[in-house]
């Protein structure tokens, strides 16, 4: 169980809606992932770290699917179930 209360979508400032919609489109889902909510608790964090994340995960020398697989490997090594 989370050690913090994750805010509901309507509790975030309206200016984050564009960021949330972008995240839903990025993952092709219709809800906001918990990690997105965590980062959005402080919008400065979601904007800076979020941009780093998008920049790093788009197709480049490696395709996005390869990068997602690398992310899974890192998560496994770090023993993170999320």
């Amino acid at each position: 169980m989370e050690t913090v209360r994750l805010l509901k979508e309507h509790e975030f400032p309206p200016e984050l809606q564009k960021y949330f919609e972008g995240t839903k489109a990025w993952f092709n889902i219709d809800y906001i992932p918990k990690m997105t909510k965590v980062l959005a608790y402080h919008p400065e964090m979601s904007s800076t770290h979020g941009r780093c994340s998008r920049r790093a995960m788009v197709d480049g020398a490696l395709k996005r699917c390869q990068k997602e697989m690398i992310a899974v490997a890192v998560s496994a090594i770090n023993a993170c179930n999320y």
Partner: protein, 185 residues
């Protein structure tokens, strides 16, 4: 879990890809644990020099069977000298033969190509702070044609997700991509 789901949506839809990736980071972690724990000298950039805590089986002292396995290992990695970790395993020829068989099976082209597997292994090594694995797999991704830009991309993903995983663990976030994961192929 979130990124297995994302990866399934983005180009690796079948479980076969994910089994193979799991084999790659599992085997890599096993090799790295032993190599770093025993301070096995790095194969390509042994600075600062490491002195192994166990004796290595050099080719001239190896049995004919071990030398045959060494030849296969050197051909697979296209190197003149067998990587040092295998010289530890060579104290038990049967174990070396089977373990090398597993390593070779896991890293050969199948669902995933060898370069992708080496990139996964590099990431697993960086995440585990393994000098031995980072040295070996950095050499391998370069040999197999990954550009410096591609290597930087691996580094970025490792950095980002080493951050995300700690945030998720610290706040005890439960997975929220489970349903999506199991509705993928």
């Amino acid at each position: 879990m979130a990124h297995t789901a994302a990866g399934k949506l983005q180009g690796y839809p079948e479980d076969g890809y994910w089994y193979e990736a799991a084999y790659v980071y599992g085997i890599t972690n096993g090799i790295n644990a032993v190599a770093d724990g025993l301070r096995i000298p790095l194969d390509f950039s042994n600075e600062p020099a490491r002195k192994p805590l166990v004796q290595l089986v050099e080719p001239e002292a190896a049995s004919e069977g071990v030398r045959e396995i060494y030849k296969d290992i050197m051909a697979f990695y296209q190197v003149e000298r067998v990587p040092n970790l295998f010289k530890v395993l060579a104290h038990d020829e049967g174990y070396l033969r089977d373990y090398w068989g597993a390593v070779r099976f896991v890293f050969e082209d199948r669902h995933l190509d060898r370069l992708t597997k080496e990139a996964v292994a590099l990431a697993a090594s960086l995440a585990a702070k393994s000098d031995y694995g980072t040295d070996l797999h950095l050499r391998e991704v370069r040999r197999l044609g990954l550009s410096e830009k591609g290597i930087l991309e691996v580094i970025q993903v490792v950095q980002l997700f080493s951050c995300y995983t700690k945030i998720a663990d610290g706040l005890q976030l439960a997975p929220d991509f489970t349903e999506l994961l199991h509705t993928s192929k």
